[in-house]
Amino acid sequence: MFGAQKPQPPPSRGRINLPNLKSTPTMDIYRTMYEQAQANQPREVEQLFVAPNTNLTYSLSVKFESGKHNPVWTLLEDDGTEAQMLWQQESGDFDLINDMVCMSAQSSRAMDRSKTNMPAMDPSASLTQPSYEQQSSGFAGGYGGATGGYPGAQNSGAFNPGDLQGQPAHFEPTRSSGTLPTLNQQGSGNVDYLGDKMPSQSQHGPRFSEAGQQLETKTFEGSVDSTQVSTLVNSLHNDGLTGRLEILGDESVGEIYFLNGVPMYAHVAGILGDSAVRELITWRKGTFAFFPDEKTDVRNVMRPLMETVMEGIALLDKKKHLERMGLTADAYLVKKVRNMSETEIRLMLSKGEAIDMNRQLEVFKTIAHKYSLNDLLRDRPMESADWIPIIFNFLTCELIDIKPPDAVKVGALDFLGEGKTEVDSLLDAMVRQETGVMSYSAFLMFLQHEFFRYEAYGWPMSIILFEMNRKKDHDTNQKRGDLQSMFDILPPSAVQNAAKRIEMVKRPLDILGHYEMLEFALLLPNTRTASAAYVANRILQTLTVTPLIKNLDKKSLKLAFGVANLPADGDSVQQLLSAARAAKNRAVEANFPLIISKSFK
């Protein structure tokens, strides 16, 4: 059934890439580029080449623009940290272009050497013998100045160049096992939405090319646990390698394509480009493998690598600090002081890292009682690069505490150990085995207890009284005859499923029980009428959204909910229950099966 009428991908409108060169192009190459650009107007034809004995990569591209007789040639230079345009020339003269390219390459090479004051690296140098000195000095200064420190973070302040130098020993060059299929480098990429070629993504599809499957060769592989991704990326960059770095994390797979050490394309779980590189740098678990010579025609990594790496490391440090303070997805973000004025919050936040103040205020206001990080990211979705600095600021500015979920979720009596089993068996005895729902008498006991609390402290309490029955026959049901004879009680298995669904919707402190013979009730402590109605509506939805059991679907299920509340409906349990019953009885006949008691008095 799938894909019977799959739309055909649009014709490619992307750049045409010619095979890379390890020297400056010859006249034949210029001619080929010219002809390709002319024949494929308005597409751009690109030739990447490496200036010998340097780290510099050049991109020469040519494109015929509409209305112009001669094409426009553009030369870009990439020194591994940033790419810059050297010149742009409209010309049909190959000699001129050749001269310009040779001059540019020579002058840049001279500058490159004088700037670094070191012998040029061979791009094909082994990864196991990297030269890090060139990178690490600037790296340390930049990071330390940019981020500053924070209390308790071991790696606060500057990046440790030793990280780069100490780690590469983990790379274990392995020759291919010869079992993995490979990418067809020239033709296997998918066509993306712009018509450009995209790299085949190992996690999303087969790596097989249509024809001529080759064996994929992994140059090296290892564990992210022992080798930081930043170290890995830097090493590949410094060694000027070409290929695909694949990182298998806990929850997704990321990949970065390198061309002569320059990251060209990065992707992880829907994040692309520089953000993907930064995200990958924060990964601390998983495995990686490098597949040499795999290339892509698409470039989405635009910023200098060092800049992205520094941001990633800063983010990682903050993340580690937050984790040391107990932050997990389930951990609660608890405001230290409630009811702070906006001015006070601003003043507190001004002590932290400079982040958009309004955004921080919005996020802070979102944090409610018993609010976990999961809740925050559900209500205000943010990338890790956004929420980590904000939560970090809240914490360091002493606006919040982080409470581990265990502190809240662990049973209050767990400390009793074996002694708790007696309590558990008492609770089990209150439950009717066939339905898994608390018995009527047990429910009344809790109701009475809650009433005492209402009397003592004036806390409101609500009750949802409801019935769940199976309609005997849809047609007879329309006649409004004898209601009792029109419905059957639900089989225990259906009640069990219903109870499980209600369990998902209600709060842990709400108590579900049988009510009299055939009905059910939910006791909601400290809840007002309309909020109880909201819970009742959610129960109604979850019970009807799919059949409870086979042949017991929305149409065959008869539900009616009555909601009552103290003090809104009286001041005794008897009044509360009779109000709930009256509301439920009315709901049986009403257009909508949910009635709040006070609404029809």
Partner: protein, 415 residues
């Protein structure tokens, strides 16, 4: 049921001990743990079967504790456990599914085999997409998968109930799966768009359009599910539930709607006929919706509803007075209402003005009451819903729009 089911060693602790000891679980334990019989019943039947030298299964069936076909299925499950095709916990869960949801053995086994194992989550299209787009975590999905099987709910609905994802995000994820299935977008494109949609709190279509993958919503009036939603026969959550079953269980939307119990086969035929008329331009959208509302009352006979189209419709809804609405929902005390009424009569000004001037209600509450009155008049909401919503607005100090969204009573036109 054949006599083969009553192989002695399968039933009783009292039978061949040597054979029993090789079984990972005895049939009695399997029946008790899968709640087919309780321990007390088992014990009494065991005593009887030892005394009478009759297999346990026969006693259970004769005493009416267990139907023979269920017993046969329990034995099949036991055999699957014995041959290591199923683990004991999965066997128990499968037997529960067989009993509770009347599934076949194959269906039940297929479901429990989708449960997470020690090696991690097994294939779950929706779960994988949500996990990879960072919308939910692996352990949340694992737990939701188990809870979903226990409560007969699809994964997305469990995640919604648990508050892990929002209904808009689930809707987007399901649309993404649908587009991948139909070859409209690749998985990586959907992941990218879903991530963007989640972060910017937009529908999935928007980033896909921005990325140039689609030019417009690829599914306008695409199926009868949407038509039912437009006409109010099902709500948004029910539509999403059917969509989830459609894309995760490889069903057509018609089959999914039937399996959810929102349609019968007869109604599906009529709905498709109506959808075709809409697509061909023979009907306008509002006409189709009106027809659809009536179709249900005439047993899905389109000619009948066309005949009845011109007839005047009876409307039995109670008339809604704003003052009364405010009173019954507790927004205003009855005595205050009396005071405001007499003041409005005296000053010859509208009651609402008096209520506001006296400070008995806020402008927000009054606006809410008026908005709800209007929605009831348009039959978008019924009176009971309006009363509940106004009480909710008053208690929680929210606007009507937010309250309607919280209750998921949003009519399609307001979506």
């Amino acid at each position: 049921m054949s006599e083969d089911h009553f192989v002695p060693f399968n039933f009783s602790d009292a039978d061949d001990v040597g054979s029993e000891s090789k079984l990972p679980i005895k049939i009695g334990d399997l029946l008790v743990q899968s709640t087919m019989v309780d321990q007390e019943t088992l014990d009494s039947c065991m005593a009887l079967c030892i005394k009478m030298h009759v297999p346990l299964g026969r006693i259970l069936a004769m005493e009416g504790h267990l139907a023979e076909d269920l017993l046969g299925k329990a034995l099949e499950i036991q055999e699957l456990i014995r041959t290591n095709a199923l683990s004991v916990p999965n066997g128990i869960t499968a037997l529960k599914l067989v009993k509770q949801q009347a599934l076949t053995i194959e269906e039940a086994v297929a479901r429990v085999n989708a449960l997470p194992t020690a090696a991690g989550v097994k294939a779950s299209r929706l779960g994988d997409l949500l996990r990879e787009s960072a919308a939910a975590q692996q352990k949340q999905i694992e737990k939701a998968l188990i809870d979903g099987i226990n409560a007969s709910l699809p994964l997305g609905q469990v995640l919604l109930n648990r508050g892990i994802i929002t209904i808009d995000l689930l809707n987007s994820a399901l649309m993404g799966l649908r587009m991948m299935r139909d070859g409209i977008a690749s998985r990586s494109q959907i992941l990218q768009a879903l991530r963007s949609a989640r972060l910017r709190q937009l529908p999935l279509v928007q980033p896909l359009i921005e990325m140039g993958i689609i030019e417009e919503d690829p599914y306008p009036y695409s199926d009868i599910g949407y038509l039912m939603f437009l006409s109010g026969l099902i709500n948004e959550r029910e539509l999403i539930s059917a969509r989830e079953i459609e894309v995760t269980e490889d069903k057509t939307v018609d089959e999914a709607l039937i399996s959810c119990g929102f349609c019968s086969e007869k109604s599906v035929t009529a709905l498709n006929e109506l959808l075709n008329m809409l697509m061909e331009g023979a009907l306008q959208e509002d006409q189709a919706i009106q027809l659809l509302k009536k179709l249900e009352t005439v047993d899905w006979e389109i000619p009948k509803v066309l005949e009845a189209l011109d007839q005047e419709e009876e409307y039995e809804e109670e008339e809604l007075e704003v003052g009364e609405l405010l009173k019954v929902t507790g927004c205003i005390h009855p005595e205050d209402l009396e005071i405001a009424t007499s003041r409005s009569l005296k000053k010859r000004q509208p009651l609402a003005t008096s209520l506001l001037e006296s400070g008995f209600i806020t402008q927000l509450t009054l606006d809410g009451a008026n908005a709800l009155k209007s929605l009831v008049a348009q039959r978008i909401l019924n009176l009971e819903q309006a009363r509940t919503l106004l009480a909710y607005c008053h208690e929680n100090d929210v606007e009507v729009g937010a309250a309607i969204k919280d209750f998921d009573w949003l009519p399609p036109a307001m979506n």
